[in-house]
Amino acid sequence: MADSRNLSRIITAGIFLLLVVSWIIKAMSGMEASAWLNIRNGALTTIAAFLTLCIYSFLYGDNPFYRFAEHLFVGVSAAYWMTLGFWSTIVGNVVPRSFPALAKFFKISFNYELGTAWHFIVPLILGILLLMRLAPKMSWISRWPLAFIIGTTAGLNLPRYLQSDFIQQINNTFITLLPGWQGVGPFFSHLSLSASGQLVMISTNVVVFVGVVCGLIYFFFSKEHRGWFGVASRIGIWVLMLTFGASFGYTVMGRISLLVGRITFLFHDWLGIL
């Protein structure tokens, strides 16, 4: 037990020593320009590289370095969004538009010609009602703003999704099963496997049509998937699985690019050897 502790201490010390050395090298590399600036930028890049390695250490397993980066990240990012929202939306827009006098008193820079927008009072009140959650006896009142948000967006979604995800998609499925059909005679006399040939185009459209219908049948909940219905549902799930496998394989390239980006950061931006 004691040995492994010492070992981990040695490893930790080694890692920090490496970081310091890399920082010094980084800072020295362009010294003549501006010493202070180089030391500073070198330190920032080294910190970023250290945090990058902390996260990669998760690939081995949970460890103190990962925990450190994780917890730091959580705190900083939570504050980041909070600060951004507070200063840019509440102080930067809502207050000057609903209480210009107050905003002018605090010298908030804003285009005051936009005039007072009293309607912003409503979300301010709803927001304060939401904060009532913190008072146990009044927490029921915080449901009002929740109800408002959920009601609004449900009403918003209802017709819009019906249009975009539903009617539009149905419309796109209105394909002709026999594109460029000129009769049975010409079809057989020009039979070919070329991609622009009629056979291929027709089979493509048929596959799309059958795929959509079978896919929909797979999603039937209140009918037993047996007999011909079961067969169609089976075809449906096959088409889905084929697609999922292909999408998975197709995504690999993009993910490797992300990794390449980080490796480039470590070896080029930080160590300068790529």
Partner: protein
């Protein structure tokens, strides 16, 4: 009552939004924009609740001596520092200092660029100066003047320069230079490309004027580029916590996917059943399009295209139609108050 009022609120706001969809009038459009703005603002108040929850959980861990207590302290420290640095202390921000410094550099390079172009036109043989004809020098000069005017605006809005500093000699001198650029530029129109004497004269004028401009910029007060506390969202530390803590961790977390996609493929792509074989084969074919194996690769490439264009289209459409229907159904249930599990009970 405690349950009825929220349900009524859901119903009224929901029905209003549905009706709004069918009304193109400006009134309905404005109401829509208001409601969207409102939900954003309420969301920020909710964020305060989130922060409260985060602080409470972290604090409890520290208080009870949880094994992760030290790490929770790090979370709280990061949170506190970031909020502190984001606070709008009045003064020059880091970004503003960068902008002003940059503006100075750009103005100088515009001036010297115009000077050099004018000089080059005089000395280079005709064949190599197609891109530097007299009328293009004219363009370069007016463009330089316009872009300097743009950079000067940054000086004007900066907290750093006092009014006197700007209204006085420096800014005036810079602006005079741009005015002179414009007037010289109009003289280029009347010069023939082969009249090297006249060209040299103009180049000399440009050089003289730009020197004055550069001197004026040089005499502007210098800024330090770090202001540790001031600047709010543009504060030095706020920006660097974002750039050098958040961004690298975020990008690295994202890139872990490269490893996980590999391990998931190894772990799960087994030909256990017919269905999982379909999944496996599709992935295999698509990945094989990158192998350097000649005809196999080209075949895999063709098959990939076909899968992406045909079955993929069908499957996605089936899912989207189903999802669309599900969304509509659930929205309807929510608006009508049938689905109310999100509302809790007393």
């Amino acid at each position: 009552m405690r349950r009825q009022i929220p349900l009524l609120l859901v119903f009224v706001s929901g029905v209003f939004m549905v009706i709004q969809y069918f009304v193109p009038s400006a009134f309905a459009e404005r109401a829509y924009e208001f409601l969207i703005d409102w939900t954003i603002i309420i969301g920020i108040f909710a964020l305060a609740l989130g922060i409260w929850s985060l602080v409470r959980v972290s604090y409890n861990k520290i208080r009870t001596g949880h094994p992760d207590a030290m790490y929770s302290a790090i979370t709280l420290a990061g949170l506190g520092l970031m909020i502190f640095f984001g606070f709008e202390f009045p003064g020059v921000s880091y970004k503003e200092a960068m902008r002003v410094t940059q503006a100075k550099d750009y103005i100088q390079s515009e001036f010297s660029g115009a000077r050099d172009a004018a000089a080059r036109r005089v000395f280079l043989p005709e064949s190599e100066t197609l891109s530097l004809r007299p009328d293009s020098i004219k363009t370069i000069l007016t463009m330089a003047a316009d872009s300097v005017a743009h950079w000067v605006d940054i000086f004007k809005t900066s907290h750093w320069f006092s009014g006197a500093d700007l209204e006085g000699t420096n800014l005036a001198a810079i602006m005079t230079t741009t005015e002179q650029f414009k007037s010289i530029s109009s003289q280029y129109t009347s010069v023939s490309p082969s009249d090297s004497m006249a060209l040299a004269g103009l180049a000399g004028r440009v050089s003289e004027v730009s020197q004055q401009g550069i001197a004026a910029v040089d005499s502007l007060k210098n800024l330090s580029d770090v202001y540790p506390l001031t600047g709010g969202l543009e504060n030095y530390w706020f920006i660097h916590f974002f750039d050098d803590v958040m961004i690298p961790i975020q990008a690295t977390m994202f890139s872990l996917l490269a490893f996980f996609i590999a391990s998931a493929a190894y772990r799960a792509f087994r030909a256990r059943s017919l269905l999982s074989t379909v999944l496996l084969l599709a992935a295999f074919i698509v990945m094989a399009r990158l192998l350097p194996m000649g005809p196999v690769t080209i075949g895999a490439n063709k098959l990939t295209q076909w899968i992406l264009l045909v079955p993929n289209l069908a499957a996605k459409r089936a899912i989207v139609i189903g999802v669309g229907l599900g969304i509509v159904a659930t929205s309807l249930k929510v608006v009508l108050g049938i689905e109310r599990s999100y509302m809790g009970r007393d």
